[in-house]
């Protein structure tokens, strides 16, 4: 689970709080949309959750890790419980589709046998069977994003974060991707999903919880599945 309790954070050298006394919680197995205008603090929230930056005050807990007191050496363990998907995919260009997914399993010390069994299964799950030997530049944008999804879920993370995952995709591919995320959330593992997005239509087509933020504060948190918040 994710717990923000009165969390504030200012970037080094910055004079304004990127996150200002923010409080919200995401339970295990939830599917949450995080919405807000540019500069509202969405990326800062992701950075706080992944331990990339530290909160200045408040309590921050992610998957059982106390991020206000976590030692640097423990960050890899935290990150292994989280899968992250980015708008720009962030695939390693020199690695094939298969290797991009497999290396995430090597990171956690999985055996070669386990990797040979699990990677084809996950690639099949995201609809990439037959694309294993291709390099990222040899597949479409939608397929690259699905490679990123496969890499994010291959280690069965407790929490899956998607940062503007549909930003580089057309509406049909965007919907496909969101349906895939919904399936990942619905599976027996009950992966918690946090999707940061601008796509109003997309948010409104799913009946999910929507947390809206502005200026580093939560301004609405509704279970109505409606993107009631207007981006300014």
């Amino acid at each position: 689970m994710v717990l923000f309790d009165n969390v504030s954070m200012t970037y080094p050298g910055g004079d304004m709080r990127a996150i200002d006394e923010m409080s919200f919680a995401i339970d295990d197995g939830e599917f949450v949309f995080l919405v807000g205008p540019s500069g509202s603090g969405k990326t800062s929230i992701i950075k706080l959750i992944t331990g990339e930056v530290r909160a200045d005050s408040g309590e921050l807990n992610v998957n059982g890790f106390d991020l206000r007191r976590i030692r640097r050496g423990k960050l890899p363990a935290l990150r292994r419980t989280i899968g992250v998907i980015f708008q720009d995919f962030r695939l390693i260009e020199d690695m094939t589709v298969y290797d991009n997914v497999a290396f995430a399993m090597h990171v956690v010390g999985a055996s070669n046998r386990e990797i040979r069994r699990r990677v084809p299964y996950v690639l099949d799950l995201v609809g990439l069977s037959g694309r294993e030997k291709r390099f990222p530049r040899e597949v479409s944008g939608g397929e690259q994003q699905r490679v990123a999804v496969a890499r994010a879920i291959v280690n069965s993370p407790q929490l899956l974060i998607a940062d503007e995952p549909t930003g580089n995709l057309d509406p049909a591919r965007s919907l496909e991707l969101m349906l895939l995320m919904d399936r990942i959330n619905d599976n027996e593992m009950g992966t918690t999903v946090l999707v940061v997005t601008h796509e109003k239509e997309l948010v409104n087509s799913f009946s999910k919880r929507v947390v809206a933020i502005e200026d580093g504060r939560v301004i609405s948190d509704g279970m109505d599945g409606y993107y009631s918040y207007e981006i300014q």
Binding site: E52, P76, A77, R90, I92, A104, N112
Partner: protein, 295 residues
């Protein structure tokens, strides 16, 4: 760490050399250039030092024995002279032999036929270990009862010491400057190489890779490139050294100076090259990615 994981990381290190071909080539080239330049200067300094050694070895001190001493008594002084720690070798020259040597310096040796050898003293020709201690040794020789006079070319000794000091200082400064320049160039090359892989490192961190998981392939890569550079530099140095020394030996200078054959130097040069190549490769990689690991 599991052996399969180590195997994977080693494989990744080797793979990376191929996928980042140009940067690998640039790194190896720089290691070769730095090692050959530093090595050449060091070898020149070593040769000059060896030449000075042989010239110094020729520099002798002569200790004259009191006239009142019989040859037997004069010979008896040898253990006392040899006891002085700075004495490398000493040879007794009786006055007759000294006269012969003296006469041999002149064209008309007949002039000296009637000169009695007793006008000269028995003497010891002494070679020293360290000519910078010549004055001190001279005093120690004077302290031996029976030694009447000691002829030591202190000026020449001082000259040698000065030349050696200058050569040592110049080579040391050159080597230090070259080491600093090499490390700087190397660090920048590796930095440039890792800059292009900043994104790759960030992705690795994001999926939960430990610093060691990220560092290991870089270290393997640095180690392989460092070793490769060192071996090529060694072979290149060998060829250049042979070509240059052959020309020196064949030329006029060859009659005046002697050069150390490379085969005699290689047991030292090879491990030093391998060590420097390894250190530069491994530490270069480690230092260059250090900043990217702080996420």
């Amino acid at each position: 760490m599991k052996s399969s994981k180590i195997g994977y990381l080693i494989k990744e290190g080797f793979k990376s050399i191929g996928t980042h071909g140009f940067m690998s080539f640039a790194s190896v080239t720089i290691i070769i250039a730095c090692l050959v330049i530093m090595g050449s200067f060091t070898l020149i300094a070593v040769n000059i030092d060896s030449m000075l050694d042989s010239l110094e070895a020729e520099n002798q001190v002569v200790a004259y024995v009191e006239e009142t001493f019989s040859e037997e008594e004069a010979r008896a002084l040898q253990p006392e002279i040899e006891y002085i720690s700075n004495v490398r070798l000493c040879r007794f020259v009786p006055r007759e032999e000294a006269m012969e040597e003296f006469a041999s310096q002149f064209e008309n040796q007949a002039l000296f036929q009637d000169v009695d050898a007793s006008v000269l003293r028995d003497r010891y020709i002494i070679y020293l270990n360290d000519i910078s201690l010549m004055e001190q040794t001279q005093e120690e020789l004077y302290n031996i009862i029976g030694v009447a006079n000691v002829d030591a070319h202190l000026g020449v000794a001082e000259g040698f010491v000065a030349v050696r000091n200058v050569v040592s200082a110049v080579s040391l400064i050159l080597v230090v400057v070259l080491v600093v320049v090499s490390v700087f160039i190397m660090a920048n090359t590796v930095k440039l190489a890792t800059l292009s892989r900043r994104e790759e490192i960030a992705i690795m961190k994001m999926v939960g890779a430990s610093n060691w998981f990220i560092r290991f392939p870089f270290i393997v890569e640095g180690l392989v490139l460092g070793l490769l550079g060192a071996i090529i530099a060694f072979l290149l140095e060998w060829s250049v050294y042979d070509v240059v020394t052959n020309r020196i030996i064949a030329g006029v200078i060859g009659r005046l100076v002697s050069v150390i054959p490379f085969s005699q130097l290689s047991p030292i040069v090879l491990p030093v090259y391998l060590g420097v190549g390894l250190a530069v490769g491994v530490f270069g990689s480690t230092i260059a990615i250090r900043n990217y690991l702080q996420v």
